[in-house]
Amino acid sequence: MPQVNGRFVPDMKSPRTPDNEEPAAERACDFRPVDKGFTEEMALAEAERCMDCKKPFCVEGCPVNINIPKFIEQIREKNYGGALDTIREESMLPAICGRVCPQENQCEGKCIRGKKSEPVAIGQLERFVGDQPELASKPAMKPKNGKKVAVVGSGPSGITCAGELARNGFDVTVFEAFFTGGGVLVYGIPEFRLPKAVVKREIDGLEEMGVKFEYNSVVGNIATAEELFDEGFDALYIATGAGLPKFLNVPGENLPNVFFANEYLTRVNLMKANKFPEYDTPTKHGKNVVVFGGGNVAMDAVRTAKRLGAERAIIAYRRTEDEMPARRAELHHAKAEGVEVMPLVSPLEFIAGEDGTVCAVKVQKMELGEPDESGRRRPVPIEGAIEEIPCDVAISAIGTNANPFASKIGGKMELNKWGYIIADEETGQTTDPRIWAGGDIVTGAATVILAMGAGKKAAASITKSLLGE
């Protein structure tokens, strides 16, 4: 590590260490992880690039304010366990967030080195240490305090809350509707972006800490909030995610082979339809696939289609590429894998072929008009510019509505008019003082790190409320 007068001197010359990617042509044929992550050498080189800012803007950019310069310094010192402990003070899921956070809008977007050159690869460094969980110090477990908490949903928000509570001495049970834990991390985000083994490691860790998992348990149907309280739970944390797909509301949307992204992704990620008939769940292997949307969900769907053998896989988006909400890395990866981007189109109608399944989609071409409230130029239809794109699979990935179970769970908590749970921003407490909520079911579809952060805040609030600390 270069030093002058005992002080660390950052490496201001080297460019950002490029991602360690599998070759695009090969990886687009299977579900192997696209990004292999930094080697130790790469991590050490990248860590040298951090200027250890006195006023680190990167920390402000991180929604949970991880002490980034500190953990990067620990990497420089090869104190990886220490680096992990530093991250874990704020985030329970570094191996996951390092992979899936939209860093360019968060920590890296604010990094000072991005002004003149390229920002430090904070996400990659976080993942590098996150992938060595055995090095972290074992978290101190408070003695059992005799209180029981039920967590509903095992997505990032639920598992974070469960972990924190277990550490604080609570007896925690997680109820999960599916047969396995992880929420969107397992049924939504594909293996090639977030290996399921990484998620499983987190769940296993919680089980080791004594957290109980009740799978196949749809709270609201199998037990209401009141029944859980009657069974002896002292508090509830609800993290059921967003769920419920949003419609495009155009004719032909129900034709066979028109999917919502959730179904398309669940068939493959959770049910392993890519291995049909070895696994029983089938899916459609389209030759021409069109995906509507511009976010991470759309990218995951289109890249999955590519891996299922699509010759032409198109992302069709209402606005332009610059405005796509997807992580930049995903867009870049998708294009490298041969995905076509078709900006400024909006679907008008799905058309059935002779066999009754979708054979084409009619789209309206758009152009950028006057800026709207968000300051972005609003796409407006170009009159008469209508095109038909042939497709044998079409996927809609334009967002989700509130999970319908929020209203069935009961208790005295209130929902807003869109069906999301109303919860205090700082504590996560709902209008029923025995119930907390967080993650996508409060904010609407958001990010893993925000869902994680909400779980952590709620755990602190539940602890305070139940133990009076």
Binding site: F178, I222, L244, N254, F260, E263, M271, P277, T281, P282
Partner: protein, 280 residues
């Protein structure tokens, strides 16, 4: 794992499993369903709750062998365990007071039976109309006969091999004509439900259909089970499976049910040839 406590065979292709599931048994209602995944490689398939006992902690479902998963399930024995059972899902069946016709066609009889039983138990007079293509495919006749006398059972077969020849709409029409029933519940193949609905509409009698589109999660997350009702998109797993039959877009449902015919054939073939990875 969910242990099979009891297996009952009703006919060559119709079975009932009693499965250990105490929490589900406590919250079960007629008209709700379970999602079953037999083993690690299994698909998630919905089956209607056919019985439950909260004290003894079990639930039951009746199924007919029609493809890979049901074929494989039929090889499970009491003492074996199912990898996953989730439920109860969906909205319970609600019928106002008054005599009802319960129509079941084909495998739909497995779904109609628990509903008929529930209606009888809640004080309704019930006429069961049981339809099948041919005598051998008529499900659960003995079970229906345990619940109802001959006057209340109406059987039709397409080929006339049993009961009256024809389709379920003939006895339905008679019941409506004579005002013997004031509401109708139907479940079965789309054409049967569609024509039952037209018949009921002719007499202005309310009719409920239990819809059975393909499902994946059964919890409102994936959108696979969407159906068009009254011009609106609904999810059969969370908004249904029961809907006002006069508002259902039947062509839409039929097309979506058939979406995986080719793959279903492939799957069954692979299983029968033994090339499937997890037999049972």
């Amino acid at each position: 794992m969910y242990k099979i406590l009891e297996k009952t065979q009703f006919s060559e292709k119709v079975f009932k499993f009693r499965v250990e599931a105490p929490a589900m048994a406590k919250h079960a209602h007629a008209g709700q369903f379970l999602m079953v995944r037999a083993n690690e490689c299994g698909e998630r398939v919905p089956f209607t709750l056919a019985g439950w006992n909260a004290d003894e902690g079990w639930v039951e479902f009746i199924f007919m062998v029609i493809g890979k998963t049901t074929e494989m399930l039929s090889a499970y024995e009491a003492g074996d365990a199912l990898r996953d059972v989730t439920g109860p899902l969906g909205v319970p069946t609600e019928m106002p007071d008054g005599p009802c016709a319960v129509i079941g066609g084909g495998v739909g009889l497995a779904i109609a039976f628990p509903v008929a039983k529930h209606l009888i138990e809640t004080g309704h007079e019930v006429h069961a109309i049981m339809g099948a293509r041919t005598k051998d495919l008529l499900l659960l006749e003995d079970q229906f006969r345990e619940l109802l006398d001959d006057e209340h059972i109406h059987i039709t077969t397409d080929d006339g091999s049993y009961g009256e020849q024809g389709v379920v709409t003939a006895p339905l029409e008679r019941l409506l004509e004579s005002k013997a029933v004031t509401q109708v519940f139907c479940v079965g193949p789309v054409p049967m439900m569609k024509f039952s609905t037209l018949t009921a509409e002719k007499y202005g009698t309310p009719i409920t259909a239990s819809l059975n589109p393909i499902m994946v999660d059964g919890t409102g997350m994936c959108g696979c089970c969407r159906v068009e009702v009254d011009g609106k998109t609904k999810f059969a797993c969370v908004d249904g499976p029961d809907f006002d039959a006069t508002k259902v877009d039947w062509d839409d449902l039929r097309a979506r049910q058939a979406a995986y015919r080719t793959e279903e054939g492939q799957s069954l073939k692979a299983y029968e040839e033994g090339s499937c990875a997890c037999h049972k």
